[in-house]
C-alpha cells in the first residue's frame, strides 16, 4: 500500500467516513449487468444452496435447492440458472461490428489484416465478493464436463441440456476475472475498495456490508459505528442482522434455522413417498410445498440484503465519471467474449482441466502485460493514482521554464528540443533515462539530459512530425504544465511462443492428441 492510500485510510478513521482512493471510475460498468448472489452449503464442494440472480434490481429471480445434497435438485437449480444466464449472454452474442485483426498468413508467413467480427457489447457478471468469483469458477468446473442425454445417451444421471454450456461460460468468466483490469466478472467489494479507502484494514474491507457502511454511512452514524453494526449486530434469536455476502453462510443460521428447515423438508418428502392413497398424498404434498416454501423464504432472507447492497454499491460507483482509458480495456473484454463465443459455435471441447504448457505460458504473459497496462492507464487517467507514482519517484510533474531548439546530427537533422522543467518531485532519473508524456492520447518520449539548478532538462525525441520544423503543438512551450512518467504508457507483447505442437521437451513436449475429458464419475458416496 502506498503512503498516499495509508494516509487516506487514516483520514477515514479521523473523519468517520471513507475517503476517495480514485477520482475516476477505473472499471467499465455495463448498463445492464447481471448480478449473481449465490449461497453454498458448508462443508460441501459445489453444492449450491440458492441464489438471487437477474438484471433488474427490483425483480431478482430466486433459485433454491431445498436439499443441497440431492443431485437431481442440484441439476434442477443449475438448469434454472442456465435459463437466466444463457439468454443474457446470448443477447450480446448477436450484435457484432466489423473489426480487423492481425493474423499470420499460413502460406506466406506474413502478418496480414483479417476482417473479423467483434461483439458490439459484452455481458457483465457482478458478484458480491472475491469468494463469489471463486464460486463462479467452481460452478463452472463442476458443470462443463457433464454430459447431456443428447450428447451421451449411455451416461448415468445425464445433465439437463444447457448445464454443460453454462459451465463453459462460467469457466470463461472466472478465467477472465484473473486478468488484471478486466470487467467481465467483477466483485462488488473489490470494485468499491479500489475507489474508496475506509478506516479499516483490507481484511475487513472484504465484508461488503462493512465496506458500504464506511462509504455511505446511515444518517447520524460514523462509518466505524455502522461498519461494526454491519459486521456483528444480531437479533434476539442470535441471527446476524446483516447476513454475510456469501457464498458461505453464517454457522448460526445453518444450525438454528436452515438445518431444522431442511430436516422438515426431508421428513415431508419421505412421508409423501410413503403415502398410500391419493387423499393422503394430497395432504402430504401440501406439507412438502410448505416445507419448501420455508426454505425459499430463508434463502431469500439471507440473499436479499446482499443483493440490495451490491446494487447500492453500483449506484455509488456510477456517480464517478469513467476513466478515459476504461473503454479501451472493455474492448479487450469484448474480444475475449467474442473469441469464446466463436469457440463454442465452432464446437470446440470445453476448457481442459489443466492447460498445456503453451496456453499456460500465454495466460501468464497476458496477465503480466495487462497488469502493467492497468497500472500505467490508471495513473494516466487519474491524478490521484499519478500522485502515488510521483511519490515513489516513477513520475514527475512541473512547469516548463525554458525550451531550446536543437537538432540531431546526421544527414537529415530532426528537431530535438531541450525542455527545462521545474519540479518539486524527486524522480529516479539516471543518465539518458527515457520518460514519457501523453500527447493527444499517444505517448511522446524524451530522455533525461541532466539537472540545471533544481530543474530537470529533457530532450524530446519523437512525435514532432517528419519535417525539420516540429509540428505545431508537439513541442512543449514555456509556462506549460506537464507530467512525465518513467514507465511506458503502452505495453508491448513479449516474444512469441512456439506452437503447442512444437512445445520443447523441457516443458512436457507436445500435448499430443486432444483427448476428450470425461466428466467426474458419479459415485454413491457423492451424496451422504
Amino acid at each position: 500500500m502506498s503512503l498516499i492510500s495509508t494516509l487516506a485510510r487514516l483520514e477515514a478513521v479521523s473523519t468517520g467516513r471513507a475517503q476517495p482512493a480514485a477520482t475516476v471510475r477505473h472499471r467499465h460498468l455495463a448498463d445492464h449487468p447481471l448480478v449473481f448472489v449465490p449461497l453454498t452449503t458448508a462443508g460441501e464442494a459445489g453444492a449450491p444452496l440458492g441464489a438471487l440472480v437477474g438484471t433488474d434490481r427490483d425483480a431478482p429471480r430466486l433459485l433454491v435447492v431445498p436439499q443441497p445434497r440431492d443431485r437431481d435438485l442440484r441439476f434442477q437449480f443449475l438448469a434454472e440458472l442456465a435459463d437466466v444466464v444463457l439468454p443474457y449472454v446470448d443477447s450480446y452474442a448477436g450484435a457484432v461490428e466489423a473489426a480487423e485483426r492481425n493474423e499470420t498468413d499460413p502460406e506466406t508467413g506474413k502478418r496480414v489484416k483479417v476482417e473479423v467480427e467483434l461483439c458490439a457489447d459484452a455481458p457483465q457478471l457482478i458478484v458480491p465478493s472475491r469468494a463469489g468469483i471463486d464460486f463462479v469458477r467452481l460452478l463452472g468446473r463442476s458443470m462443463r464436463f457433464r454430459r447431456t442425454a443428447e450428447q451421451d445417451p449411455e451416461a448415468p444421471h445425464p445433465a439437463p441440456p444447457r448445464v454443460p454450456l453454462l459451465g463453459r461460460w462460467l469457466t470463461h468468466f472466472g478465467e477472465r476475472a484473473r486478468v488484471p483490469g478486466s470487467a467481465l466478472l467483477l466483485a462488488a467489494t473489490e470494485l468499491l475498495s479500489r475507489h474508496w479507502a475506509t478506516g479499516q484494514s483490507t481484511l475487513e474491507d472484504q465484508h461488503l456490508g462493512a465496506l458500504l457502511a464506511w462509504i455511505d454511512p446511515p444518517e447520524g452514524m460514523t462509518g466505524a459505528e455502522a461498519a461494526l453494526a454491519a459486521e456483528l449486530a444480531r437479533d434476539a434469536k442470535g441471527q446476524l442482522l446483516h447476513p454475510p455476502a456469501g457464498p458461505a453462510t453464517d454457522p448460526a443460521f445453518d444450525n438454528k434455522l436452515l438445518a431444522p428447515a431442511i430436516e422438515r423438508y426431508d421428513r415431508a418428502r419421505t412421508a409423501l413417498a410413503a403415502a398410500e392413497d391419493g387423499l393422503e398424498a394430497d395432504d402430504r404434498l401440501g406439507e412438502l410445498t410448505a416445507a419448501e416454501r420455508a426454505i425459499r423464504d430463508l434463502v431469500a432472507s439471507r440473499t436479499r440484503p446482499t443483493w440490495d447492497a451490491v446494487w447500492r454499491g453500483l449506484d455509488l460507483l456510477r456517480e464517478l465519471p469513467e476513466g478515459a482509458r476504461v473503454e479501451e480495456r472493455w474492448t479487450r473484454d469484448r474480444w475475449s467474449f467474442t473469441s469464446h463465443r466463436d469457440r463454442i459455435t465452432a464446437g470446440e471441447p470445453p476448457q481442459p482441466r489443466r492447460d498445456d504448457a503453451v496456453t499456460a505460458a500465454n495466460k501468464l504473459a497476458t496477465r503480466e502485460r495487462e497488469q502493467a497496462r492497468l497500472e500505467a492507464q490508471e495513473a494516466l487517467d487519474d491524478p490521484l493514482v499519478m500522485a502515488g507514482r510521483r511519490l515513489s519517484g516513477e513520475a514527475f510533474a512541473g512547469e516548463v521554464t525554458d525550451v531550446v531548439m536543437t537538432y540531431s546530427e546526421g544527414k537529415r537533422p530532426s528537431p530535438r528540443p531541450l525542455v527545462t522543467l521545474r519540479t518539486d518531485d524527486r524522480p529516479h532519473l539516471g543518465e539518458r533515462v527515457k520518460v514519457y508524456r501523453s500527447l493527444g492520447g499517444k505517448p511522446q518520449s524524451a530522455e533525461f539530459v541532466g539537472y540545471d539548478d533544481d530543474c530537470v532538462v529533457l530532450r524530446v525525441l519523437d512525435k514532432m512530425g517528419r519535417g525539420k520544423e516540429p509540428e505545431a503543438g508537439s513541442v512543449p512551450e514555456k509556462g506549460d504544465r506537464l507530467c512525465f512518467t518513467l514507465f511506458e504508457h503502452e505495453q508491448r507483447g513479449g516474444a512469441k511462443l512456439p506452437d503447442p505442437e512444437d512445445t520443447p521437451w523441457t516443458h512436457g513436449g507436445p500435448p499430443g492428441e486432444a483427448t476428450h475429458e470425461a466428466a467426474d464419475p458419479l459415485t454413491a458416496e457423492d451424496v451422504l
Partner: protein, 394 residues
C-alpha cells in the same frame, strides 16, 4: 503443614487461580497453537491460552462475543469423511500413505491398529508413547494410530494435541496424517486451507519429535505429512504429500520465542482472575492488565479479537489498519500523531517518515484539489489537478 511447592506446581496453582476456582481448563489444540505462534508477541493470548481460559466465553462476558462457530453441515460432512477414510482398519488410509510417501516399502496388506484409550490426557499420552515404541520395534509392519494423544510444552505449560492419525512405517519412521474435508480439485486445493493444515501438522511433528527424542535409538519423524481430502466433487479420499519443513521451523522458532508464561504471570497484579462469572468491569480490568498485540489477522484466529480491536481502535493505534501500515509509519504509532505530522503540526522535520508523509499529504491534496497545503508546489494559478488532468488528457 503444606508441602514445599516446586516451581511447576506453583505455576499450575497460579494458572488455576487466574482461570477461576470452578472453571475447568480448556486444552490447547494444534489450531490454537498455530495461531498463537503466528502472533508470538501477544502476551494476552499467551497467558489466557496457557491458563486454559475459554476465550470464547470470556469474550462474551466482556461484551464482544466472538463470531466463530461451525456449521453442523460441515461438521457432519467432516466426520463422515474421516470415518470413511479410516474405515476397514484404515486400509484406504494406509494405501494412500504407501502410494504417496513410501512406495519402496511392502504394501500394507494388514496393519496393527493398537488400542489407545486411557484415562485423562496424561494417560492417553503415555499410552500413545508406549504404542509408538512398540510399533517402532515391530519392524516390517505397518501401524496406524487412530487419534493418538501427544503432549507439547508450550511456554512452560503442557498442551495436549490429538492428530487425526499417525502412521508408523515398516522402517520405523513416523508420518503425521491430516484429514480435511475441503476438496482437492484437479489435484489442487485452496492454498489458504492447505497452509493452515500444514501449520497444524507442523505442531504435531514437533510434538512427535519430542516423543522420538526420548527413545533410543530415536526414530525418524518424517517431515512430509499426508494431507487427505475428498477428491473433486465426490466423497472419495485422495491425498497429497505436503512438505512441512518450513512450517515446522517457523512454528518451532515462534513457540520457543513465546514469553514464558511464568514471567507474564509474575507481572500480573495480585488477585487477577479471568473467571467469566465476574462482573464485566473487573474482567475488563483483568484483561487490560496484560498487553495485547492486536493486528487484523487476529480476527481470523482469536476469539478475543473483537475486544482487542475495540481497544486498539479506541487507542488510535495504526496497527488496527494492518501490520503493513504500521511498518510504513516508523515511530508514529497513533492515528492523531500521523495526521498531525502529515499536516505539519507536529513531528520532527528531519525524520524521513515525517518528510515522506508531508509529501504524500501534499501530493494527495493537490490531486484531490482541496486547496490544502501543497497546491503551491507547482506554482500559482492553475491547480495541481488541472495540470495533471490536462497532461493526461492531451
Amino acid at each position: 503443614m503444606p508441602l514445599p511447592r516446586t516451581r511447576g506446581t506453583a505455576l499450575r496453582q497460579q494458572l488455576a487461580e487466574l482461570r477461576g476456582p470452578d472453571v475447568p481448563a480448556k486444552a490447547l489444540d494444534a489450531r490454537a497453537l498455530a495461531a498463537l505462534a503466528a502472533n508470538p508477541g501477544c502476551r494476552r493470548r499467551a497467558i489466557l491460552d496457557g491458563a486454559g481460559v475459554n476465550k470464547a466465553t470470556l469474550a462474551s462476558a466482556l461484551g464482544s462475543p466472538s463470531a466463530f462457530g461451525q456449521s453442523q453441515f460441515a461438521l457432519t460432512r467432516g466426520n463422515a469423511f474421516e470415518a470413511k477414510v479410516k474405515a476397514d482398519g484404515g486400509a484406504e488410509l494406509l494405501r494412500l500413505v504407501h502410494e504417496k510417501l513410501d512406495r519402496a516399502a511392502e504394501p500394507p496388506a494388514h496393519a496393527r491398529v493398537p488400542e489407545l484409550t486411557a484415562i485423562g490426557p496424561e494417560g492417553r499420552t503415555a499410552r500413545t508413547a508406549l504404542a509408538l515404541r512398540e510399533a517402532t520395534e515391530a519392524r516390517g509392519e505397518w501401524t496406524l494410530l487412530d487419534h493418538p494423544m501427544l503432549a507439547l510444552d508450550v511456554a512452560g505449560s503442557p498442551a495436549f494435541l490429538e492428530p487425526d492419525a499417525v502412521v508408523v512405517h515398516p522402517d520405523g519412521s513416523w508420518t503425521v496424517v491430516e484429514i480435511k474435508s475441503f476438496p482437492m480439485l484437479d489435484g489442487s486445493a485452496d492454498p489458504a486451507k492447505v497452509g493452515a493444515a500444514a501449520r497444524q501438522a507442523a505442531v504435531y511433528v514437533l510434538a512427535l519429535e519430542e516423543v522420538a527424542a526420548r527413545m533410543e535409538p530415536s526414530p525418524e519423524v518424517r517431515h512430509r505429512v499426508l494431507l487427505v481430502c475428498p477428491k473433486d466433487f465426490s466423497n472419495l479420499p485422495t491425498a497429497s504429500a505436503v512438505d512441512v519443513r518450513k512450517q515446522r521451523a517457523v512454528t518451532g522458532r515462534q513457540l520457543a520465542r513465546l514469553t514464558r508464561i511464568q514471567d507474564i504471570a509474575d507481572t500480573l497484579p495480585e488477585g487477577t482472575c479471568f473467571d467469566p462469572a465476574r462482573p464485566a468491569e473487573e474482567l475488563t480490568a483483568a484483561v487490560e492488565s496484560v498487553p495485547a498485540t492486536y493486528a487484523p489477522e487476529c480476527l481470523a484466529a482469536c476469539e478475543l479479537a473483537f475486544h482487542c480491536r475495540d481497544r486498539s481502535r479506541a487507542a488510535g493505534a495504526v496497527t488496527s489498519l494492518g501490520r503493513s501500515v504500521r511498518a510504513e509509519l516508523g515511530a508514529l504509532t497513533t492515528v492523531p500523531d500521523v495526521l498531525a505530522a502529515a499536516r505539519g503540526e507536529a513531528g520532527d522535520p528531519a525524520d524521513p517518515t515525517v518528510v515522506a508523509l508531508r509529501r504524500a499529504a501534499a501530493l494527495r491534496a493537490e490531486a484531490l484539489d482541496t486547496g490544502a497545503p501543497g497546491t503551491g508546489a507547482l506554482g500559482t494559478g492553475v491547480s495541481g489537478a488541472d495540470v495533471l488532468g490536462a497532461a493526461a488528457c492531451r
